[in-house]
């Protein structure tokens, strides 16, 4: 199990160090880790971003062997969240997935307690809460309580008030009854003056599309996000109109799995607050017939190829983007009017050899070029099928060696978009009922379709 836990700052400094099993792991483990991590920092001029929220040091394998310590070989299992590296040091055989899941959970809890992002300053401002949390989450190197509700019953999150007063609001001396109940996810004695529950069915489309718009591979992952403010201990039953659309699913621990197996209904006592009720994938036939709602055709021109290596050359990129009417999305009955895509955005990475850009012109939206990352971000915002947008931009770059023209090939574009009241699968809720409590809560259900990792290849 976990022998030690380290949390490193974005510059590799040890912020938190905790040893769970009586053995003090030398900090040299962190140095070894940081040496490896620095490789990717030097290589990319920064960490590489997976998406807007995810990033990682891709020179460090998530499970890394560190030989030659006092205790022989140690295994460092790590993840990077909000700029902080979470390192779990294990001396012997262990389930790496368990550790990784746990590290992510720790980071989630920090966000829950200190707000987003749970970064260096959040940790520094809350040392003593961090230690108390770790104490409750791990004992002797084993993950224990990781349910936010159970933790909050024992350790009070820092509030604006307590910060202002710098005082010691005494945590209730009574053990809150929900702490170790048989429903560790639910806090007892919740009470709201207005009872309400919102259910979002979010479907994310991951796709790789070629320059002509043909889909090379696609995958749709759905999740049901709930925002729950219900008093007491309500028992909920969620039913779908057509559950056969769902192919594979995984549930929050609160869901009674056997009920779903038998009747394809989701029966559960919800946690308090925001949570993900379930995630699912849809049947392959639906994915295969997927037609993306947006298009983007890139065209790169590198100018005269005969110039000698090392010289500056000028190239030009042209993009056409827009919303198609041919998409295979299913719209909710409440949806009226034309298809409107929101938060439409195209990220255009330029070739590594690029030195500068000029003559940037767009006829729709705004575009900003990020000099350091060599990425042009084209923000189209809200758009419907009636408009077509185009972008042109010239760029000058260092001509590569003859025979390495290939190296110029620009990285793939990535697209972000969101369409409210739409879904890929057509999954709709047919009913949501509350039992065990007498009140009638306000219930809201809606569908959202959006981009996951959506890429367009240029070649």
């Amino acid at each position: 199990m976990i022998q030690s836990l380290f949390i490193l700052s974005p510059t590799g400094e040890v912020l938190i160090e905790r040893h769970f099993r009586g053995v003090v792991t030398s900090r040299s483990v962190c140095d070894t880790f940081w040496d490896r991590a620095s490789e990717s920092i030097n290589h990319h001029g920064g960490v590489s971003a997976i998406s807007d929220h995810e990033e990682l040091y891709d020179s460090v394998p998530p499970v890394m062997e560190v030989p030659g310590s006092d205790q022989g070989t140690l295994y460092v299992i790590s993840c990077l969240r909000d700029g902080l590296s979470y390192l779990a040091v294990c001396p012997a055989e262990v389930s790496p997935l368990l550790i990784l899941e746990f590290l992510h959970r720790v980071a989630d809890i920090f966000v829950d307690y200190f707000g987003f992002p749970a970064d260096e300053s959040a940790i520094k401002d809350n040392f003593s809460t961090v230690y108390q949390l770790l104490e409750e989450m791990v004992d002797y190197g084993w993950p224990l309580t990781t349910e936010p509700n159970a933790l909050k019953a024992m350790i009070r999150p820092p509030t604006v008030m307590s910060k202002l007063l710098q005082s010691t609001t005494v945590v209730s001396d009574e053990l809150p009854s929900g702490t170790v109940s048989n429903m560790p996810w639910r806090t007892a004695d919740v009470s709201y003056s207005q009872n309400e529950i919102y259910v979002d069915i979010v479907e994310e489309v991951d796709a790789i599309v070629d320059a002509s718009g043909a889909v090379i591979s696609s995958d749709v992952s759905g999740s049901i996000q709930c925002q729950c403010q219900l008093s007491g201990v309500p028992d909920l039953l969620l039913t779908f109109k057509d559950p056969t659309i769902i192919d594979d699913w995984s549930f929050h621990p609160c869901v009674r799995y056997s009920r779903y197996e038998e009747d394809s209904v989701v029966s559960f006592v919800p946690p308090d607050g925001n949570f993900e009720l379930m995630s699912y994938r849809i049947v392959p036939e639906k994915v295969r017939s997927l037609n993306p709602p947006v298009f983007c055709h890139p065209k790169w021109n590198y100018g005269d190829r005969s110039t000698t290596s090392g010289d500056m050359r000028t190239g030009r990129v042209t993009l056409h983007a827009g919303v198609t009417t041919l998409s295979s999305l299913v719209f909710s009955p409440s949806h009226k009017g034309p298809v409107v895509v929101e938060d439409f955005c195209v990220n255009i990475p330029f070739p590594r050899q690029t030195r500068s850009t000029s003559n940037l012109r767009v006829d729709f939206g705004t575009a900003v070029y990020n000099e350091a990352a060599k990425v042009l971000r084209w923000n189209l915002g809200k758009m419907d099928a009636s408009k077509k947008a185009s972008l042109t931009c010239s760029f000058s770059f260092v001509s590569p060696k003859v025979g390495e023209e290939e190296a110029l090939d620009p990285p793939h574009l990535s697209l972000n978009w969101k369409i409210p009241l739409a879904s890929v699968s057509g999954l709709t809720v047919s009913g949501l009922s509350v039992t065990r409590e007498s009140y009638h809560p306000y219930k809201g259900v809606r569908n959202i379709a959006k981009s996951g990792i959506f890429q367009v290849r240029c070649s």
């Binding site: 170790v180 192919d247 594979d248 190296a407 090939d409 990285p411």
Partner: protein, 867 residues
């Protein structure tokens, strides 16, 4: 600091809490605040939980350095353990378990036993973990007090968190003690299966992992358990999913072939959860992919239709891409090859050089694997060669050589294209591959001799691999076209035999020379003979290893694809006796006797019987043997290795288990890479006498000498790397394999390390305390607890006894001093502390040679542990 102290003594609770927080904050950034120990301790008498928690946190941190002072807190602990507030009861029990001070342990037992039966589940779950902590410090005490039985009861507790911790504690104890405390009986099995639905996600992982170690009685039981486990595949936690997959895959083996319908149904159920894992964070994806790699080797049909999900996304981290590529090659089939080729071609234009090369090589591997698609694959490779990107061309040439070996005489038409790109090649492997192709198809290349001629111009500067290929290719060329190439072959043979100092090259040169001069026809048969057709290597783990690894899914071994025992060091008696092969008896005493017999035999052989003065055990230095290479790496040989000193000479002991189905093995050559100790073999030949026949194993020793030229200096302030890299060549089939073994440092202690007492004291004092190294060795075998025995054992390893004395004011404690000197002349001084009746020892080591200190300390620790 003074201010802090004042604040700690403040009567205002708010000020006090704030002060303790400040102390904790300094502690976390590594500042030493141990001087405030008593002041902080005073704050523990409080009703405020938060304050108490912080003080306890501080206590745990400094209990190690201030054991005496920690004892002052015992009363508080005992009192808190029966507090009316369950939070405080649990906190006290937990903290006491974390303080690893012997005397605290004694006080811990009663509160712990109460806590295990506490009415509050929060206390029970904390107590369950505490049992495992206690077992680590004092296993006897745990067994004596019957705590293990109580843990068994906790598995059927009404609260899920308690169940989870009970299972975790039991598995931990089972693992660390090697005892079967987690034995799954029919009733335990039912308890576990019931708990699986109830307990927390982490507990589910522990339960599933214990289930994976259990072997069901028959197919029906296996099926029954699988049915209960299957719902876990839908869990949101990837660790739960993967452990469930492990249980199902292991049990599927037992279901037998009569049940093929059920197996098919299960196979269908396994695919979706595995695919879902690829939607998680990249770190989790990586671990999942390494495991999927094993799963597709074992049961390819599970994911046969899912190849698309393994296609790489542009911003996947490189380690995820590499793993995906491996799996794509494993899943490629005639059905999906066209799509896969398009993908691989796309990858070949990406930026990351390693990834591009792997993609190019993958195209070739597809060709080798799928005969009907070979032509399409080659077309793609040719297209890539046209891009003239340097590393793409080189990688393509390397892999095309494999294609030629797989399908001889089928695709020569592309040789012309390859020849156009000769000047691009600058890497040895690519050059060697190209030269091999030229030699092999010399008769179809018009200017083969000219091409070889250009390579020959730089013969002397080439890498040995290229030289060898050049030599062979020229000879092939000569045999096919003797008229034009006589000069050339003569020149090559001259260069190889006379000007080169590479023994391999010289040997091969002489053989060709002799063959050509005595019997050119025989030479033709030998050199131009049909080569065995190579096979697709994509399913490369051996079935036996694969089966072991399938049982280890979701563990570290599954990531490194190494069997679990390579994660522990094996220790074996130096002289194996016949009894070794027999099954272990349950009776431990008997086993001890056998060991004694064998070591006594060893003593007689060495004619040292006269030294035996009493009935104490005789110690002969033995090499701790570690498994360093498996049959998959070492050509059908399992290799164990370790180092030992005997008669003033240092030996590397090698044990080869011949697990190949082939022939006897006997003669090898050995070579060591430069290492931190300057070790190199005195003689490069290694002979097993008698030869090791398949299915048996043999042991031999290679004498080592110190060669300063072979020493890699270690930079100041860094720890020495104990690793020795070894290359072994099998002289029968010229197969070469490599392995690395860590040097057990005690074999380098020389016989002249003895010291005068006064000299020792002076040397001890002269070394700065900051260079002290500490370790505590617990769980010592019975013969390491008596100082006399330790002294004897150490003497056998040239670790010399200086003095011993009782520790004042600590009854039953004694310190013993030893000195040792390495053959390089570095001296080490050690202080060992023993306590009567406790099978643990403290080690403190001082040396000027700081970079080697860690090694000497580890050597002492492992000697103490060995029996």
């Amino acid at each position: 600091m003074h201010e802090l102290r004042m604040e700690l003594h403040s009567t205002d609770r708010a000020v006090k809490v704030d002060a303790v927080k400040k102390v904790i904050a300094s502690m976390t950034v590594g500042k030493d605040v141990s001087m405030l120990f008593t002041d902080v301790l005073n704050c523990v008498q409080t009703g405020n939980i938060e304050l108490k928690k912080l003080v306890y946190l501080y206590l745990i941190n400094y209990s190690k350095t201030q054991p005496e002072l920690t004892l002052l807190a015992v009363n508080t602990f005992v009192k808190d353990a029966s507090d009316s507030n369950p939070l405080i009861r649990a906190l006290a029990v937990r903290t006491m378990g974390c303080i690893r001070v012997d005397r605290i342990t004694e006080y811990l037992c009663d509160p712990l036993s109460r806590a295990l039966r506490d009415e509050d589940p929060y206390v029970r779950k904390t107590a369950a973990v505490c049992v495992a902590k206690l077992y680590d410090i004092a296993p006897d005490l745990v067994e004596e007090r019957g705590f293990i039985e109580i843990l068994h009861d906790l598995i059927s507790d009404s609260n899920p968190s308690v169940v989870a911790n009970g299972v975790a504690a039991l598995s931990e104890i089972a693992e660390s003690s090697g005892k079967d405390v987690m034995r799954i009986t029919a009733s335990v099995l039912q308890k576990l299966l019931a708990a699986l639905n109830e307990c927390t996600e982490w507990g589910q992982v522990f339960i599933l992992d214990s289930l994976a170690k259990y072997t069901p009685a028959d197919g029906r039981e296996a099926e029954g358990i699988i049915e209960r486990v299957t719902p876990r595949l839908q869990h949101a936690n990837s660790a739960v999913v993967m452990s469930a997959v492990k249980v199902i895959l292991s049990y599927m083996e037992l279901m037998g072939s009569q049940n093929s319908d059920a197996i098919r149904a299960l196979t269908r159920k396994l695919a979706p959860p595995l695919v879902t894992l690829l939607n998680s964070e990249p770190e989790i994806q990586y671990v999942a992919l390494r495991n999927i790699n094993l799963i597709v080797q074992k049961r390819p049909n599970i994911l046969e239709n899912e190849i698309k999900v393994f296609f790489c996304k542009y911003n996947d981290p490189i380690y995820v891409k590499m793993e995906k590529l491996e799996i794509i090659i494993k899943l490629v089939s005639e059905k999906n090859i066209d799509q896969v080729l398009l993908e691989l071609k796309e990858y070949a234009t990406e930026v990351d050089v390693d990834f591009v090369r792997k993609a190019v090589s993958a195209i070739g591997r597809c060709a080798v694997k799928l005969e009907r698609a070979a032509e399409r694959c080659i077309a793609v490779l040719l297209e890539l060669i046209q891009t003239k990107v340097n590393y793409v061309v080189q990688e393509a040439v390397i892999v095309i050589k494999d294609v030629f070996r797989r399908y001889p005489n089928r695709y020569e038409s592309i040789i012309a294209t390859l020849c156009d790109n000769l000047d691009t090649l600058d890497e040895p492997l690519a050059k060697a591959s190209m030269i091999w192709i030229i030699g092999e198809y010399a008769e179809r290349i018009d200017n083969a001799d000219e091409l070889l001629e250009t390579f020959l111009e730089t013969f002397e500067e080439e890498d040995p691999a290229v030289q060898l290929q050049l030599l062979t290719a020229t000879v092939k060329c000569f045999l096919k076209n003797p008229e034009d190439t006589q000069d050339m072959v003569q020149r090559v043979l001259d260069m190889a035999t006379e000007e080169s100092d590479n023994p391999d090259l010289r040997d091969r040169g002489f053989i060709y020379w002799r063959l050509l001069s005595t019997d050119p026809d025989a030479a033709k048969i030998v050199v131009l003979g049909d080569k065995p057709v190579i096979e697709d290597d994509t399913f490369k783990l051996e079935p036996a290893l694969l089966n072991i690894l399938i049982g280890q899914i979701a563990t570290l071994s599954s990531i490194y694809h190494k069997p679990p025992d390579s994660f522990v060091v094996r220790r074996r008696a130096g002289l194996p006796t016949e009894e070794d092969d027999e099954e272990d008896d349950d009776d431990d005493d008997e086993y001890d006797e056998e060991v004694r017999d064998s070591s006594a035999g060893g003593v007689d052989l060495l004619d040292m019987g006269g030294m035996s003065v009493n009935d104490h055990k005789q110690f002969t230095p033995t090499a701790p043997m570690t498994r360093v290479a498996g049959p998959e790496k070492a050509g059908g040989i399992e290799v164990f290795s370790g180092f030992v000193q005997e008669g003033g000479k240092i030996f590397m002991e090698l044990e080869f288990s011949n697990v190949s189905a082939g022939q006897d093995i006997s003669t090898f050559a050995i070579q060591l890479n430069k290492n931190a100790f300057g070790l190199s073999p005195a003689n490069q030949q290694v002979i097993f006498q008698p030869p090791v026949s398949p299915g048996s194993s043999g042991t031999t020793r290679v004498e080592m000498v110190m060669n300063p030229a072979m020493q890699v200096p270690t930079p100041n302030g860094q720890n020495v790397n104990p690793q020795i890299q070894v290359a072994i060549k099998n002289m029968h089939n010229n197969g070469v394999f490599y392995f690395a073994v860590n040097l057990n440092f005690e074999c380098l202690f020389s016989a002249d390390g003895e010291m005068e007492k006064t000299a020792f004291i002076e040397a001890w004092k002269s070394i700065d305390d900051r260079h002290e190294l500490y370790a505590t060795v617990s769980d010592l075998p019975a013969d390491s607890t008596s100082i006399e025995d330790v002294q004897q054992k150490f003497a056998a390893y040239n670790i010399f006894f200086i003095a011993r004395r009782p520790v004042p004011n600590a009854e039953g404690q004694e310190v013993v001093y030893f000195s040792m000197k390495s053959v390089h002349g570095m001296t080490f001084f050690a202080e060992l502390t023993f306590k009567r009746g406790v099978n643990a020892a403290k080690v403190c080591l001082k040396t000027e040679a700081t970079s080697y200190g860690g090694l000497a300390k580890s050597a002492l620790e492992s000697l103490l542990r060995s029996d």
